[in-house]
Amino acid sequence: MSLTIEGLASGYGRTRALWDVHLHLESGHIGSLLGLNGAGKTTLLRTIMGLLPIQEGDIRFMGNSLKDLEAHSIARKGITYVPQDTALFPDLTVEENLKVAFRTKTDFDAALKRAVEPFPVLAKRLKQHAGTLSGGEQKMLLLARALLVPSRLILIDEVTEGVQPTALERFRTILKALNEKDHTTILLVEQNIGFALDFADEYWVMKQGKIVLQGRVEDQDSRKIIEETLAI
């Protein structure tokens, strides 16, 4: 369940957004992409997910290339994407939003219960239209949706933004449990360095479409080095 990115370049149409990205995330590890807005973190996740074409280089998951695959095929390889923007279907109910993500026919109800368990608020609002939820609740829905289907790799884009600290703590617990129990590989995009370093094993810092720094969280002074890199 390892993810390997080699010499990746991608972008939007004629605009290049990523240059020569190299990244290797070992199976069962948690990695974090750090950097300021516009650095290319979201672009990288979207490219992995097949939403943007690979212009140069390659992305391999479990040894297989993801190049030229469509988003739904990539999703079916066990890669779950939790986007940064509130990516819900606002006119569908909470339950229907979850149903869309649920691909196998069997036992939706049981899986639903399990996914919603950490979020009692959601359980109360199953029949409500997703668009009427508050921002924090919508984020919870995104996460519940990600938990619904067994994943090998979870790509999370800034799930902490706009979320209250208590809910944040809950997210962290859930993700940690997932990683420990199922050895799910997690790649986290974060602007909140504290949260990221608390949670991840490895990190990569991006600036203007390139990876400028990488390391292991447990290394000395990693925090300081990261902050310095970003401050320049």
């Binding site: 469509e70 988003a71 739904h72 990516a87 569908l92 993500a101 949706r145």
Partner: protein, 284 residues
Amino acid sequence: MLFGVLNAASAISILLVTTVGLAIIFGVMGVVNLAHGEFLMLGAYASVIVTSLGFSPWLSLLLAPLMVGLLAVMIEPVLIRYLYGKTMESILATWGLGIVLRQVVELIFGTRHHEAPYPTNAGFALQNVHYSYYRLFIMLVAVLLALALIWIQRKTDLGVITRAVMDNPSLASVLGINVKRVYLSAFAVGSAITGLGGALVAPLVSAFPAMGLSFVTDSFLVILAGGTGSLPGLIGSSALLGATDSIISYLSDPVMGGIVFVILAIVVMTLRSGRELRERTHSG
């Protein structure tokens, strides 16, 4: 009076069965199928072919949607695929498709009218006039079709997936839904239903190559007035426009009915878009 109501109901149900297929295609994929009239026409001709081979007209009601659906599956990868979400191109390209289909049919069958036999000639007497059971049958089909589609949309997984794809195709894709396959299915099903509609109206108007033209504008006006992607809206506008057309045609003549139809559609559209403007977004 009863006659009037029956006529109105008949007009509404004919509108519905000939429009629903188009509404599905437009609603799900954003493709304007201006060859819609020709798909109806093909359904009608399928009926003619089946009955001329000696089979029962009831069978043609089964085979017409299959044949048109099959044709749709063949056309989709060649043409329709390039038109997703592109309004003007789809209008023009499908308009061209309609021309081509019309010419092919003219080549094979000529331009004369081909009669399609009624599946049943039985009827009942209403004030000394014979009212055909067949028209009641069409009404039944319209009602069943509408109910079936609403049920599918609201209560089934297929409905949820389709609504999701309509709402946000890239998000649906990321969640593992093969959006292209959903589009292909929608196009096939929508076309098949249209084929059925054509076979249903064939006995009433008889089949000729240009028959689709009187249906295509009506269908589009009904969809525009009812709001794209809304089944209840479609039913509502069919009811309103169909009933009005029927009444005016009776009081005056079909041309007047046609004119009022168009004007009423404009009025309803304008009133709707006042409310809809709130829901439209131009940027992020």
